[in-house]
């Protein structure tokens, strides 16, 4: 069955540094991959989508890469700020028929001032 792995340990970095989060998946070839941000007590908020034929996607301070050979996506936040502290979720399309998502467990990012 599909499996998505994100580092369950919190990532602590200093303000201004680049945060890099990893998403690895097995037993599947997704058509696309999405990254969401989740704050405590709130629902996930969409950040970026990258398709299987795209290597990299950028949005302001965010960058996502997608390596279908390694079955891995990297999510980067440059010039990180304390306000970037949150849990970041990786999600893949879960089937050949629809657009429902399969989520990873998320990685908690803490940016210290």
């Amino acid at each position: 069955s599909q499996k998505i792995e994100q580092n369950s340990e919190a990532l602590n970095i200093q303000e201004g540094k680049t945060a890099t989060l990893t998403c690895n998946y097995t037993n599947y070839s997704p058509a696309y991959l999405q990254w969401y941000r989740q704050d405590p007590g709130r629902g996930p908020v969409f950040l970026l989508l990258i398709r299987e034929n795209e290597k990299e996607k950028r949005k302001e301070r965010l960058k996502v890469t997608f390596d279908t050979t390694l079955k891995q996506s990297l999510f980067h936040i440059t010039a990180s700020q304390p306000a970037d502290s949150a849990t970041y979720l990786c999600a893949l399309d879960a089937s050949n028929a629809g657009n429902m998502l399969t989520f990873g467990g998320g990685t908690r990012l803490m940016v210290k001032p």
Binding site: I4, A31, R42, G43, P44, L89, N96, G98, N99, M100
Partner: protein
């Protein structure tokens, strides 16, 4: 534009009772999804509506769960009778129809309903 809303925000019930969760999607969104996150686990898909029709309910855990979307607007998810393992956060998400299958689209999530079954 108003976001996805869910009601109630919290619910504490006893085992064996019935609970109904409600989701109001963003106006105009044909797609409506229910997801659930149980303690310590990842968010998991429950089911998917396209307008009023169930497109996929493969994630529904068992027949104690019943979802409806009458008129293709808001949706309800009823758990009857509730069991201890049903505790968790239930999320609803909505989206516009994708341009083509598996093209991917932004899913807008509600804040979730936190259900605790005692």
């Amino acid at each position: 534009e108003a976001g996805v809303t869910q009601f109630p925000s919290h619910s504490v019930i006893e085992k064996g009772q019935t609970v109904t969760l409600r989701c109001d999607p963003i106006s105009g969104h044909d797609n409506l999804y229910w997801y659930r996150r149980v303690m310590g686990k990842e968010i998991k898909f429950l089911l998917h509506f396209v307008k009023e029709s169930k497109q996929d309910e493969s994630g529904m855990p068992n027949n104690r769960f019943l979802a409806e979307r009458t008129g293709g607007t808001y949706s309800t998810l009823k758990v009857q009778p509730a069991e201890l393992e049903d505790s968790g956060v239930y999320f609803c998400a909505s989206s516009h129809p994708p341009r083509w299958t598996r093209s991917g689209e932004t899913q807008y999530f509600g804040p979730g309903t936190r259900l605790l079954v005692l």
